[in-house]
């Protein structure tokens, strides 16, 4: 019936984590960052979602794209990694986690629309960042993803230098997220930062009003 109301739009729109995600490696560990906005069409259905999901003690992934697809991949890989690390009797390598994510992303690439960045620390190779967009697997010094990432490619290209310290990496991540969140309508809210190194895994939240400010026209 054409005259009947089909309910508010956001009930029927797909839920996406519009998103800006970033991960960067430094000598001794990695830093991951994400925004916190989840949108369904033009509505924000969650403004405080943590898109940095643990796959293992020292391996995290950053979610982007369809919220359901991304979360499901992360849950499945979390389980697979548990099994795998029990089988080998030690902590899994970051590359193994990334490979498991890649296997799902590639096999179901027609059905899924999510991009996960996998980053963590292991004893063999230290801090590593892997991108798994569309089912590829590539290790990079840093990776950005999500709809907000387009706006900050120039910024990260200009500001990234090899050999940054952990604190410089954290600042780099916060600055990048802030710039992307201010330009991308699908990114916003608070910034979640996770820092992983040999000794600890530290989760932090930076509230909107504590983010750095840049020149605003």
């Amino acid at each position: 019936n054409m005259l009947e109301e089909s309910g508010p739009e956001w009930l029927s729109e797909e839920v996406k984590t519009g998103t800006t995600i970033i991960a960067i490696e430094y000598n001794g560990g990695v830093v991951l960052g994400s925004d916190s906005r989840v949108s369904a069409g033009a509505s924000v259905v969650n403004r405080v979602m943590n898109k940095l999901s643990p796959l293992h003690d020292k391996i995290y992934c950053a979610l982007s794209g369809s919220a359901a697809d991304a979360q499901t991949i992360a849950e499945i890989v979390n389980y697979q990694l548990d099994v795998h690390s029990a089988e080998i009797g030690e902590d899994p390598q970051v590359r193994s986690a990334a490979t498991l994510v890649k296997n799902i992303s590639y096999k179901y690439k027609e059905e899924l629309s999510a991009h996960l960045i996998v980053a963590g620390w292991d004893r063999r190779e230290g801090g590593q960042v892997f991108a798994t967009l569309n089912g590829l697997l590539t290790r990079q010094p840093f990776a950005v993803g999500g709809s907000g990432s387009s706006y900050v490619y120039g910024f990260v290209d200009a500001e990234y230098r090899k050999g940054m310290t952990k604190e410089e990496c954290q600042k780099f991540v916060v600055n990048t997220l802030t710039l992307a969140m201010s330009r991308d309508g699908s990114s916003g809210g608070v910034a979640y930062i996770v820092s992983i190194d040999e000794h600890s895994t530290e989760e932090k939240v930076i509230l909107g009003n504590k983010l750095p400010t840049f020149y605003d026209q």
Partner: protein, 202 residues
């Protein structure tokens, strides 16, 4: 499709354009096309969108402006140039697909930058970016722009921004053209590919 960048400072305006590769599907139809069009002595514009539409519009705008300046017996205001472009874009918005950055110097307000978007919106900004490559450098320009930069700082800002955009946008590339407009006149600066700044991935 190409990347444009224009900014202004207290003494002058520099307008930069980078892409020399207009693309028809995957065919590069020309490697040397100038996207900085002179509308009047000290007013330039950069074009974005359909090249054919942009050329037709700027041709009409040039004519209107020169007629206008004869009538007023004074060089036209930058705002007038931008307005002419806006009228054409807005009145014909169904058929046209072109946007412009208009920048220049006039006696009344000094250096100014105006952007006319696809549908015909006209606003004045201290600096602005446009074109397909511009999405990649919103973050960079937001972070690095400061008001009241010197001419050299502005030029370096423009070159850096264009280089970063060219590095990410597959339809922007080649040579960087800059036009620096001040009270004294107009200067054209060309920076070839090998003289562009290198960032970490090179």
């Amino acid at each position: 499709m190409e990347k444009h960048y224009a900014d202004s400072q207290t003494k002058g305006v520099s307008t930069g354009v980078s892409n020399l590769y207009p693309i028809l599907l995957e065919y590069v139809s020309s490697k040397t096309i100038n996207k900085l069009i002179q509308l009047h002595d000290q007013i330039f514009c950069c074009i974005a969108g359909s090249l054919a539409d942009a050329q037709a519009i700027t041709k009409a705008a040039k004519f209107h402006l020169s007629f206008h300046s004869v009538q007023m017996e004074n060089p036209p205001l930058v705002m007038a140039a931008a307005s002419v472009l806006k009228e054409l874009c807005y009145k014909n918005k169904e058929e046209l697909q072109a946007g412009f950055i208009t920048a220049g110097w006039d006696r009344k307000k000094g250096p100014q930058v105006y952007v006319v978007s696809l549908g015909g919106m006209l606003i004045s900004q201290p600096f602005t970016i446009a074109g397909s490559g511009s999405t990649f450098i919103y973050g960079y320009t937001d972070a690095k722009y400061k008001p009241n930069m010197t001419r050299e700082e502005c030029q370096q800002f423009a070159i850096n921004a264009l280089t970063l955009a060219m590095g990410r946008d597959n339809v922007s590339g080649g040579v960087v053209h800059l036009v620096v407009i001040t009270e004294k006149g107009v200067e054209h600066v060309v920076v070839p590919g090998d003289k562009l700044p290198k960032f970490h991935d090179e």
